[in-house]
């Protein structure tokens, strides 16, 4: 029948070569940023954290830029928003590296990203850049994150004996600001927004959720900031898996990235209380 002969998608990505080239460029710049950060720390000597902050900012800027490329199907126009977002990220990272109070700068990163994303709203709707269909999903997202976070605290303290405390309020708030402004933003933007949405268009929910969550797991496993003991890696995998799948379900249910973002922020806000 004539119906079957029609193309089912009218908007296609740029060619695979072009897309790979753009992602490769971002990966190269991210690696360069990391290298510069590490080299900076080596040159500055012990006690310097600016290099580490620069490297961390570079990685998140890479995630953000990759998200922009995939969200706009590699068709151009991503460079401006990606550069502005990356710039804001690097500045905020350096500011936080200088002083815990500088972490307040992290909170401006989402504003910079949102300012650009609002201009591209029509083309970003497919990744979930829109209000949720039902506002109750925001509550469900926050509740899921809090539940997982509390569960983590109980499990870690009961099982492994890690203390649950906030010895330094400023450092805790700086970490939460990092989660609010950078960690949750880039994770949701790239893994649940661009990657999960793109895979979900081609596959059904579970394969898409498993693949995007697997990539997010990889991101945490490769994070040098995460303690590398076996029980912590196992715990991180367990909770990241649950959080990733939960955020994918929230993204699919609500049509928006916001409930997943709240869940991630709530979970990490709890995680930061754990002294590991």
């Amino acid at each position: 029948m004539r119906l079957l002969a029609h193309r089912l998608e009218t908007e296609r990505s740029a060619s695979l070569a072009a897309l790979t080239g753009q992602l490769g460029l971002v990966a190269g710049l991210t690696t360069l940023g990391c290298a510069l950060g590490v080299a900076g720390d080596s040159l500055a000597g012990p006690g310097s954290s600016l290099g580490h902050a620069f490297a961390s900012g570079s990685v998140h800027a890479g995630f953000l830029s990759a998200g922009w490329i995939l969200a706009l199907h590699g068709r151009g126009g991503w460079q401006g928003p990606a550069l502005r977002g990356a710039g804001a990220l690097l500045v905020a990272s350096l500011a936080a590296g200088l002083s815990p109070v500088g972490a307040v700068a992290y909170l401006f990163v989402p504003l910079v990203i949102a300012r650009d994303a609002i201009g591209w709203s029509a083309r970003l709707e497919w990744i979930g850049w829109r209000a949720p269909r039902d506002l109750r999903t925001l509550f469900v997202g926050a509740a899921a994150g809090i539940f997982l976070g509390i569960h983590l605290l109980f499990a870690a303290s009961l099982m492994l004996g890690y203390p649950v405390a906030v010895p330094d309020g400023r450092r805790y708030l700086a970490a939460v600001a990092y989660d609010i402004g950078v960690n949750a933003v880039t994770v949701e933007w790239l893994f649940r927004g661009a990657i999960f949405s793109a895979l979900w268009r081609r596959w059904s929910f579970w394969p898409a959720a498993a693949a995007s969550t697997g990539l997010a797991l990889l991101r945490y496993l490769l994070d040098p900031a995460l303690p590398q003991t076996a029980e912590l890696v196992a715990g991180a995998m367990f909770y990241t898996l649950l959080l990733g799948l939960g955020c994918c379900a929230l993204r699919a249910w609500s049509g928006s990235l916001w409930p997943g973002y709240l869940a991630t922020v709530a979970f990490f806000a709890a995680y930061r209380i754990l002294l590991v």
Binding site: L3, T10, A122, W126, F147, L158, S204, L242, A252, G255
Partner: protein, 477 residues
């Protein structure tokens, strides 16, 4: 409801902790209850969610046990215990979803059958069927497309906002899935069932859609057969009604014929009886007796003509046809002779014949042509009761090569269009208040047609009520 079940999980967790849950492992079975409740209420989604939360809550007491004691039977017992609510929620929820799906499918099938058996056109009924199918499948949009012969298609959508074939939305946050299934009842695809859903189309939905497509194809095939039968029954009803009407008309014509025939036969018979009785019983002077004998002769000729017409018609109707002796004729001579007779008998009418001496040559039965002309002239006079012009014409028609045309035209009462198809039937007299008193058996035109057909010719009529009629006999030259 799910929040209620989660609340029950929290209460059980508190109760187990208060009772020293590590020592009383049977209390962990209580976690099955909220998982079961959620599965029964919300299917696999509710069952899995509450089962997962129940498992996670139990993990808080079981994981430290594993951490402390390592792999052991109590650890295995704990893992089985924490995974049971999730397994139960998944299994019961899935079974419930399946049974609900089957129930919905059966209900939908019954509703679809009922809807297809309803009134209205197939297209109208399909709109209802599309909505029922949409509800049964739990999808957002359904479209049914049926081949209706040639390039025609019947399409029904539920709801109306169906994405056109080439325009599946690509910017929506939830991808739109489309499933296209052929409607095939075993005789090749008769159409397609197209279902769209924003989100995933589960394997259960796809399986159900396949089953529904098959049932729909069969139901639509049945509906089409029923529609065809209805159409056939309607046609048959119309035909029976037409035949009944025709039989009634024939019956009425027969009754009229009997009345008129008895009157027409009695009139000459009365004259014959009366004059012969006078001649037998009275002493009648010779001149008067001769005049009486003249009347007897005239009436017996009239009687003979009526009987002759009836016999000819009977022969024509039985398929034998009159015996014809085809000879070259001078058509003009026959026309002139008849016009002379009719003009002398009907002074109120004016007879015209424009073709004096130029009638085309014709090879036909002289008596038959004479009778045809007499009948047509007689009809023209009979149906022009107020007098008027009667025009006779002959010609070689350009549209019918090899034929000779003999036409008679009058300015009489004319014939209504709906009566025209019946005027050549035997015993039929078209009722008209102006001509009701005119004598006749309704045999004339039928006889003319029979004689024309016997020659291999035909007869045509054009008439306008109030304006007059024109009869045109075509005979082979």
């Amino acid at each position: 409801m799910i929040f209620g079940a989660l609340g029950v999980v929290a209460l059980i967790a508190l109760a187990v902790r208060a009772a020293g849950g590590d020592q009383v492992s049977s209390l962990h079975h209580l976690y099955l209850l909220p998982a079961l409740w959620a599965a029964l209420a919300r299917g696999v989604t509710g069952g899995c969610l509450v089962g997962l939360v129940a498992g996670l809550v139990q993990a808080l007491s079981i994981f430290p046990l594993i951490e402390r004691a390592g792999p052991s039977w109590p650890a295995v017992d704990g893992i089985v215990s924490l995974s049971t609510p999730l397994t139960l929620g998944l299994t019961v929820g899935r079974l419930l979803d399946q049974s609900r799906g089957r129930g919905a499918q059966l209900e939908a099938l019954l509703d679809i059958q009922r809807s297809l058996a309803g009134e209205g056109t197939l297209g109208q009924r399909l709109a209802g069927v599309a909505e029922l199918t949409r509800r049964a499948l739990g999808v957002d949009r359904v479209r049914l497309v049926l081949e209706a012969g040639g390039a025609d298609r019947i399409a029904a959508s539920a709801p109306e906002q169906f994405h056109p074939a080439a325009a599946l939305p690509t910017s929506a946050p939830t991808p739109c899935r489309r499933l296209v299934l052929p409607l095939d009842a075993g005789r090749g695809p008769a159409g397609a069932l197209i279902a769209e859903r924003d989100g995933d189309l589960s394997a259960a939905t796809r399986g159900m859609a396949s089953a529904l497509a098959l049932h729909l194809a069969l139901a639509i095939e049945n509906a089409r057969l029923t529609e065809r039968q209805r159409h056939f029954a309607h046609e048959l009803e119309e035909k029976v009604a037409g035949a009944t009407r025709r039989l009634r008309e024939l019956d009425q014509a027969k009754n009229e014929f009997l009345t008129i025939a008895s009157h027409e036969l009695r009139t000459p018979l009365t004259a014959l009886q009366g004059f012969s009785e006078l001649l037998l019983t009275r002493d009648v002077p010779p001149e008067r007796a001769r005049r009486y004998l003249g009347h007897v002769h005239t009436e017996s000729k009239r009687l003979g003509r009526i009987v002759g017409d009836l016999l000819d018609l009977s022969r024509i109707e039985s398929g034998r046809g009159p015996e014809l002796q085809r000879v070259p004729l001078d058509l003009g001579e026959i026309i002139e002779a008849n016009l002379e007779i009719f003009a002398s008998q009907h002074p109120r009418h004016h007879f015209d014949w424009s073709g004096t001496g130029s009638a085309p040559p014709l090879c036909a039965d002289r008596d038959a042509v004479d009778r045809m002309l007499k009948n047509l002239l007689s009809n023209a006079i009979k149906y022009s009761p107020r007098g008027g012009r009667v025009r006779v014409g002959t010609a070689v028609p350009s549209d019918k090569p090899g034929m000779v045309e003999l036409s008679v035209e009058d300015d009489g009462v004319g014939i209504a269009a709906d009566a025209l198809p019946r005027i050549f039937d035997p015993y039929v007299r078209i009722s008209n208040p102006e001509t009701a008193a005119a004598p006749g058996l309704g045999l004339g035109l039928s006889l003319v047609r029979g004689l024309a057909h016997a020659h291999g010719g035909s007869i045509e009529v054009e008439s306008l009520p109030g304006k007059g009629s024109r009869f045109r006999v075509l005979l082979p030259a």
